[in-house]
């Protein structure tokens, strides 16, 4: 019975980590893809100055990313806490504790910035003409992908020292 419980616990821990990693892959991959797509153009390609000449409304695509992004962020917060519980969280002092504080602060700042980006998409969807905001969205998703890279690096340091 104890062995069965232990196996179940190991499976749960593995599942929690799997969901956490898949969530990060979704938000990072999605942001990088959105940045590349919006930069590359197609109809309504961004000109040399970064502004949009015509056509190609990108806000439905951006809105889809935002829906997936917030679902993934919710899942990543709960699985992140699960990971901490499995590892045994450190106290606030010490190197590991300070790294965890830094990571939590960085994630909080990232979440705030991401919400502003989401509201930019929301405002462009409401009032923008077709093809509007392509360069602004491209910059937003580029910044999101860059910030996520920093967070992944912090997570690696936190996990492996």
């Amino acid at each position: 019975m104890r062995e069965r419980l232990s196996r179940m616990s190991a499976a749960t821990t593995l599942l929690v980590r799997f969901v956490h990693v898949v969530g990060m892959a979704l938000v990072f991959g999605g942001a990088a893809f959105a940045w590349a797509t919006l930069r590359a153009g197609g109809p309504g390609r961004a000109d040399a100055g970064g502004s949009t000449a015509s056509g190609g409304d990108q806000t439905p695509f951006a809105a889809l990313y935002e829906l997936v992004f917030w679902a993934a962020m919710g899942a990543m917060v709960v699985t992140g806490v699960g990971n901490l519980g499995a590892l045994g969280p450190p106290g606030p002092s010490g190197r590991w504790g300070s790294l965890l504080t830094a990571k939590l602060l960085a994630v909080t700042a990232f979440v705030l910035g991401s919400f502003v980006r989401t509201l930019v998409v929301f405002r462009l969807r409401r009032s923008g003409p077709t093809g509007s905001g392509r360069s602004l969205l491209a910059k937003s998703y580029g910044a999101t992908a860059a910030a996520l890279l920093v967070l992944v690096a912090l997570a690696e340091v936190l996990a492996h020292g």
Binding site: V77, F115, L136
Partner: protein, 177 residues
């Protein structure tokens, strides 16, 4: 209420989903940071299994999504364009939604806990009576503060879009010349 007002329809659902998810994620992170800084995180997590933790979080997410949808049903964040009056209306709605979330969350958790642990009915009623009032006030304050945070982000997004539109317009004017 039409879709243009943000109450119903695809855009209304989009708004309610992203706002509720952001508020829950931000609140969770602030809670984690506070618990970690005070050194209480280790003890709190030790008393919580993975599956109960996921179930509690999912329940809170569901409550937040439903309450946010109600709070934004009459105009949504676009109400903020009307200035302080719009903000005040949203803060009041946020307080009410937060109070509902606090009460429903406590009731749900207490009920499930009582059923699982076989607690007596009188003790359950007493906890519910005192706890729901306190949870409503705490939830209401958190709801109102969340609206202020949402409004700040909405304002920042508006500034970004406005600045982009200005630079885009001047760029095109220069091209035309």
């Amino acid at each position: 209420m039409g879709e243009a007002a943000g109450g119903v329809g695809e855009r209304g659902r989009f708004e309610a989903w992203v706002v509720s998810s952001f508020n829950l994620v931000a609140l969770s992170l602030v809670g984690l940071l506070t618990a970690h800084a005070s050194g209480a995180l280790e003890g709190e997590l030790a008393n919580f299994g993975t599956l109960p933790g996921v179930a509690v979080f999912a329940y809170l997410w569901l409550l937040t999504a439903a309450a946010t949808r109600w709070a934004l049903a009459d105009g949504g964040l676009a109400d903020l364009r009307t200035g302080l009056r719009g903000l005040w209306r949203l803060v009041l709605r946020g307080f009410a939604a937060g109070a509902l979330i606090g009460a429903a969350f406590l009731l749900g958790v207490v009920l499930v806990g009582a059923v699982l642990n076989g607690a007596p009915l009188v003790a359950l009623a007493l906890i519910a009576l005192i706890g729901v009032a306190a949870a409503s006030v705490v939830g209401g304050v958190i709801g109102a503060l969340s609206v202020v945070l949402d409004a700040g982000c909405y304002w920042a997004a508006g500034r970004l879009v406005g600045r982009w539109a200005e630079s885009d317009g001047s760029g095109r004017a220069a091209d035309a010349e």
